[in-house]
């Protein structure tokens, strides 16, 4: 794979479209086991991201990721703002001065995952977006060639898996056992992120 500057911007535009389309759905998921704002938060954030990207000239993927990070950090709030913000900041750093091929990207998402875990004091198996990022990182590190459909499958299996987990981090943790059987909203929005990426890679292929 190779993520061009244009790809990275397309990625964010597609992501924003998915988030706006699924704003209500994400909010509904968050109402069930959280406070019902995840869709609103993500929609506000990615709406700002695409506005920002549309009026700025970029030189590199790293610069795009940096503005995405700063915009999410400053516009989302809640738990998801710092987490997505940190993720993109780490990806920006890891891709600085580089062409974003699969190896660079694998390192970037891995750094992002470590950043998320550190910020959130969280790890795998706690019913958070970490449970989608972790297998996706693994996918980029292990696969010889990134097949878009395989990426989507990997992320979507991870989301489904999140249903069966009992939450121990984030607001859903307050529900304890009652969180089992529900999808984690942050995992679903992370799924959209990787699904969007797959669609960009598909087009590029």
């Amino acid at each position: 794979m190779l993520l061009s500057l244009k790809d990275s911007i397309d990625w964010m535009n597609i992501m924003n479209q998915k988030i706006q389309d699924n704003k209500q759905y994400l909010t509904k998921l968050d109402q069930a086991i959280g406070d019902g704002d995840h869709g609103i938060n993500m929609a506000r954030g990615f709406n700002e991201v695409v506005s920002k990207l549309s009026v700025t000239e970029y030189e590199s993927v790293s610069d795009v990721f940096k503005d995405v990070a700063m915009t999410l950090m400053g516009k989302v709030g809640g738990a998801s703002g710092p987490l997505y913000g940190t993720a993109f900041l780490k990806m920006s750093l890891a891709s600085k001065g580089k062409e974003v091929d699969q190896q660079v990207f694998a390192t970037a998402v891995n750094d992002a995952l470590q950043g998320i875990k550190q910020r959130g004091k969280s790890t795998e198996g706690e019913k958070t977006l970490v449970d989608v990022w972790a297998p996706v990182v693994n996918f980029f590190q292990k696969e010889q060639e990134v097949l878009p459909n395989a990426l989507i499958n990997c992320a979507s299996e991870a989301v489904e898996e999140s249903k069966t987990i009992k939450a121990t981090k984030g607001r859903a943790a307050y529900l304890g056992e009652r969180s089992v059987g529900h999808l984690d909203p942050g995992s679903v929005s992370s799924f959209y992120l990787f699904e969007s990426l797959a669609e960009v890679l598909e087009k590029g292929a």
């Binding site: 406070d35 609103i40 506000r44 809640g78 710092p82 910020r119 981090k169 607001r171 943790a173 307050y174």
Partner: protein, 330 residues
């Protein structure tokens, strides 16, 4: 959704204008930030106190800004922690050089956003300390989970740390007193009905006519248990006992707060208060002071929480100290 609002996405901005209009001589908005600060901030030679979080908990937190309590409140979107840059704006606006103390409720989002702001401030040479309040006994306390939530007990932290800061205490002293309050305060809540985040447009959950949620938080999230609605006495008893099981208040003096979550008539809060006092009396726990009303709400949720704070002479003095905050006048 029936609300007296203009644009669901502008409720926080509109509210801020309404608050500044109401108290122009004591409150100001920090320019271009969703931050309300004491008009006279930064106050020379005083450590500044900042709290905040998502909106929808009014009068928390901006109602507690004022001489004797907070120097600033940072207002996030409804039920959404404010972003680090907003918290950082608040820090810069109120720091007098003696440092800034953050009172954070224990939610992942609040903790992360406030921590990131503290990092930004420290990078600029501003001293920052913080307490993370976690008074909700409904939630299992475990180092492997998110831990307990911060709910209405946070208001006692604002009050007592605020009084101490007004006396000229240092950051270190404030951290100590904040930890002391936090380790002596316990709360638990229940709800009869959900609430609706304006931008979401639909209620957070549904409850049948004969159901209630016990162990509810303050963000329209479901509680720890759903069951048949009980009498005020039974509700008061369940909550009070849960708190008393958690820490030993016997032969102690306490402050009591019976807090309305939004749409519960004050009449019902006093009915709950009657039973709480009776239970405490039976157990030999003396009530020093009682607060009944809306302090930490969850939009228009129907329900209440009970908070008990164990007091010693130091805490009593600080609790009784003058406060000029619009929603907490003593």
């Amino acid at each position: 959704m029936k609300k007296i609002i203009n644009d669901p996405n502008q409720v926080v901005q509109d509210m801020i204008r309404g608050m500044v209009a109401a108290y122009p001589s004591s409150l100001k908005q920090v320019p271009n930030a969703t931050v309300l600060a004491r008009k006279d901030a930064p106050v020379a030679n005083k450590v500044a106190l900042i709290s905040g979080g998502g909106s929808g908990h009014e009068p928390a937190h901006a109602g507690f800004v004022g001489k004797g309590m907070l120097d600033a409140a940072v207002l996030g979107e409804v039920f959404t922690s404010p972003t680090p840059d907003q918290v950082y704006e608040a820090i810069k606006a109120v720091d007098s050089g003696k440092g800034v103390f953050l009172i954070i409720k224990n939610y992942t989002g609040d903790v992360m956003n406030f921590e990131m702001a503290a990092e930004l401030a420290e990078a600029e040479g501003i001293q920052v300390e913080a307490v993370v309040v976690n008074d909700d006994v409904a939630v299992e306390d475990s180092s492997f989970t998110t831990g307990r939530r911060g709910i209405a007990g946070t208001v006692f932290v604002h009050k007592i740390v605020g009084a101490k800061a007004e006396e000229g205490a240092s950051l270190v002293e404030l951290k100590a007193i904040a930890n002391k309050v936090n380790s002596n305060v316990r709360s638990m809540g229940m709800a009869l009905s959900p609430c609706t985040v304006p931008a979401a447009g639909s209620p957070s959950f549904e409850l049948e006519e004969n159901e209630m949620e016990i162990g509810i938080g303050i963000h329209g999230e479901p509680g720890i248990e759903r069951k048949a609605i009980a009498s005020a006495d039974d509700i008061a008893e369940e909550i009070t006992n849960k708190i008393l099981e958690d820490i030993d208040y016997s032969n102690e003096e306490v402050a009591v707060m019976v807090n309305g979550l939004g749409s519960t008539p004050e009449m019902e809060l006093y009915i709950v208060n009657a039973k709480v006092h009776q239970l405490l009396q039976e157990k030999g726990i003396k009530v020093y002071k009682t607060f009944v009303g809306e302090y930490m709400t969850s939009l228009e949720m129907a329900g209440c929480s009970v908070t008990l704070l164990k007091l010693d002479d130091e805490l009593k003095g600080l609790l009784d100290a003058k406060s000029e905050a619009s929603a907490f006048r003593i």
